[in-house]
């Protein structure tokens, strides 16, 4: 008989080993999935995980790693702070959209003026847009005890409708020949989130993501607020006795995750995407949840997990064009990763014992 025995301390070895085990298990089962779809599993896995980094056209794909990883890491860092404290903001997708709309809207308000201060204003507007959108579930939870999971998620659908509305109305390009979507910010130098180093994929959003990683690391390991976040997650009652105010923590965690998601949206709209369109959002806000868990809610882990997830996006696109692998297969692949991670995670907190238990 197999049974579980609780460890007194979570295993440090397994805390690092489980994400690796989950990735390997996903590769194996993903390979089986690809085989079931009639593709050579080894070729598919190599196309997804190897070719973007070391393949023939790697010089083209490597910058994409930062372009795709940047927003994922930035959003996931914000989410991880809340997840650690048991505050579940799962509406990052909506905050990402609102940040993009506010950021791009602030920039377009100045069009065609060229000035140095436009981009910083856009950054602030983007963060503010995401922050406000996340404060709605935050304030409702603090004031009325409303479930933040459901409210933040409902607001994703509201934000999507709002996005459609502004791309057809308020922000529509007057010189766009009637097509939906805003002006292209890449052609508006003061508002363009250009690459910092040409050809590396390193734009200001990636820089912001790296700063966020350092910020979160310092916050969690060196600052009292970070200690309160960890304490609330691990022992809510103890946190209360220690004088941690749950309301303040809820507002802080939701606010910062919203602001980060908003920033990610703004950097995306003004950089790689270039404009606000109806289908601007591509699910980064949801994938970031996987990234946060895969990184074990640890800033450095999230950095690595974000890059890995970016790799599956790029590899998935290559596999789509070269092998004809459906894009949904990659989506499922990413979902599978989270499943395996949660499943093997039991090893961190518990020991597996075989055989009958002895009498106590």
């Amino acid at each position: 008989m197999v049974r579980l025995e609780k460890r007194l301390q979570p295993s440090a070895v397994f805390a690092w080993a489980t994400p690796v085990m989950a990735v390997i298990a996903t590769m194996i089962f993903g390979g089986l999935l690809f085989a079931a779809l009639g593709k050579d599993p080894l070729v598919a896995i190599r196309t997804i995980f190897w070719d973007p980094l070391f393949g023939q056209y790697a010089f083209f794909y490597r910058p994409q790693l930062l372009v795709k990883g940047g927003p994922l890491i930035l959003i996931a860092i914000g989410l991880s702070l809340g997840f650690r404290a048991g505050i579940w903001n799962i509406g990052a997708e909506g905050q990402y959209i609102m940040g993009a709309i506010c950021g791009a809207g602030a920039g377009l308000a100045f069009y065609p003026l060229e000035a140095w201060y436009i981009f910083p204003i856009m950054v602030l507007a983007g963060a503010l847009g995401g922050w406000v959108w996340a404060m709605i579930p935050g304030v409702l939870k603090v004031k009325f005890g409303t479930n933040e999971i459901l409210v933040s998620l409902m607001l994703v659908y509201v934000a999507e409708q709002f996005l459609a509305s502004v791309s057809l109305g308020l922000l529509k390009n007057p010189q766009g020949f009637g097509f939906p979507g805003s002006r292209n910010l890449q052609q508006y130098p003061s508002a363009h989130n250009a690459e910092i180093f040409e050809g590396t994929g390193m734009h200001w959003g990636v820089a912001a993501a790296l700063i966020a990683v350092i910020f979160a690391y310092v916050l969690l390991s060196r600052h009292q607020l970070g200690y309160h976040i960890r304490l609330t997650g691990e022992a809510p009652r103890a946190a209360k006795f220690a004088g941690v105010s749950p309301s303040r923590l809820i507002l802080f965690c939701l606010g910062i995750s919203g602001a980060f998601a908003g920033l990610a949206g703004m950097f995306e709209a003004s950089g790689p995407a270039g404009q606000i369109t109806i289908d601007f959002n591509t699910g980064y806000g949801f994938t970031a949840i996987i990234v946060a868990f895969l990184g074990r809610l640890h800033p450095v882990g999230i950095l690595l997990a974000g890059l890995l997830m970016a790799l599956t996006y790029i590899g998935g696109e290559i596999a789509q064009s070269s092998l004809g692998l459906p894009s949904a297969a990659i989506q499922m692949f990413q979902g599978m990763l989270l499943f395996f991670l949660l499943a093997v995670d039991v090893l961190t907190g518990y020991r597996i014992r075989f055989g009958q238990r002895e009498a106590a």
Binding site: L4, K6, W88, I90, L140, F144, G145, T146, N147, I149, L150, V151, L153, M154, L155, V156, Y157, V158, Q161, F162, A164, S165, L168, G169, F286, I289, I290, F293, P326, S327, A328, A329, I330, Q331, M332, F333, Q334, G335, M336, L338, F339, L342, A343, D345, V346, G349, Y350, A360
Partner: protein, 306 residues
């Protein structure tokens, strides 16, 4: 704008149709939560049920088999959640989210090649004389069979929880799993069964959308109905009859805004489309004042040490 184009009888009749999917899914989740488990994967199970039901109905030509397959598909997917939370003791919130993300990908994959096909029509209840009655006939006797199935499910769930021994045990497990375990009830087994029931209901609800409500298959077609079902359980204070009320309220808002769109109201379409989600938030706020009715063990991990 021409409000007179809105026919109140048709409005009520289509309200009942619009409410059915979310009602069936919410009843399933209600049983899961009464057993003390929070499964946030309703959306994923619904969309999986939607494509399973659609594919089987198209292949076999039988909507009935489609609904059976949808229930099976939803239940099967929910077993992944059951394994994670009941045996691997994973966090229920994270596992539910994983189920939704996985279900969305899985359904998109399964649904390839099913876009733009019409499913076989589901038979309507048609009682001579009664269905032809003015007003009442259309509202009470003119629906497809799943509408009545949904209503029967609400009644059955209510009776099950209130009058049967099994219902009492289920509630005991949800209120205090340690006490239930000490009394010798198999907490894990009961919860796994509840999760399977929830999955089957979510699958049926999803298939209702793809086979009757819309009826066709598009990726992500459930568009948050699974999440609204979760909100509905909170709104209903975990009581079956209030799920019915909430579902009809939600159905009413959905149908009304669609009718207003068609009538050419001066509000842009996007803002009308937001309204069901905004109303859900509003209702959640109103209902959240009373937290006392939530099952006491909701969302807590159970691990028997002896």
């Amino acid at each position: 704008m021409d409000l007179s184009a809105i026919n109140p009888v048709l409005l009520v009749a289509s309200l009942m149709v619009a409410a059915t999917a979310v009602m069936i899914a919410a009843i399933g989740e209600l049983i899961v939560e009464r057993a003390g488990v929070l499964n946030l994967g309703v959306e994923g199970m619904m969309i999986t049920g939607a494509i399973c039901g659609f594919a089987v109905a198209v292949q076999t030509g039988s909507p009935l088999l489609g609904f059976v397959a949808a229930a099976g598909g939803g239940a099967l997917l929910s077993m992944l959640f059951a394994f994670l939370t009941q045996f691997a003791l994973a966090n229920q919130v994270a596992s539910g989210l994983a189920l939704t993300l996985f279900g969305l990908g899985l359904s998109a994959l399964l649904g390839q090649g099913y876009q733009g096909i019409k499913p076989p029509a589901t038979p309507r209840l048609d009682i001579p004389m009664l269905s032809d009655l003015p007003v009442v006939g259309r509202i009470l006797f003119g629906h497809d069979l799943m509408v009545y199935f949904g209503l029967a499910l609400v009644a059955a769930t209510w009776a099950f929880l209130k009058y049967t021994r099994a219902g009492l045990v289920l509630r005991a497990v949800g209120e205090n799993h340690d006490a239930a375990h000490a009394l010798g009830y198999k907490v894990i087994r009961i919860r796994v069964m509840a999760i399977a029931f929830g999955g089957a209901c979510a699958g049926l609800g999803g298939a209702y959308i793809s086979l009757i409500r819309v009826p066709q298959w598009t990726e992500g077609m459930t568009a948050g109905i699974g999440w609204i079902a979760l909100a509905l359980v909170v709104f209903a204070s975990w009581k079956p009859w209030r799920v019915l009320l909430g579902a009809y309220l939600f159905g009413g808002v959905t149908v009304l805004q669609l009718n207003l769109q068609a009538a050419g109201l001066a509000i842009p379409v996007e803002y009308l489309s937001m309204s069901p989600y905004l109303i859900t938030i509003l209702v959640l706020v109103i209902m959240s004042a009373d937290k006392s009715r939530a099952p006491a063990s909701l969302g807590r991990v159970f691990h028997a040490t002896h």
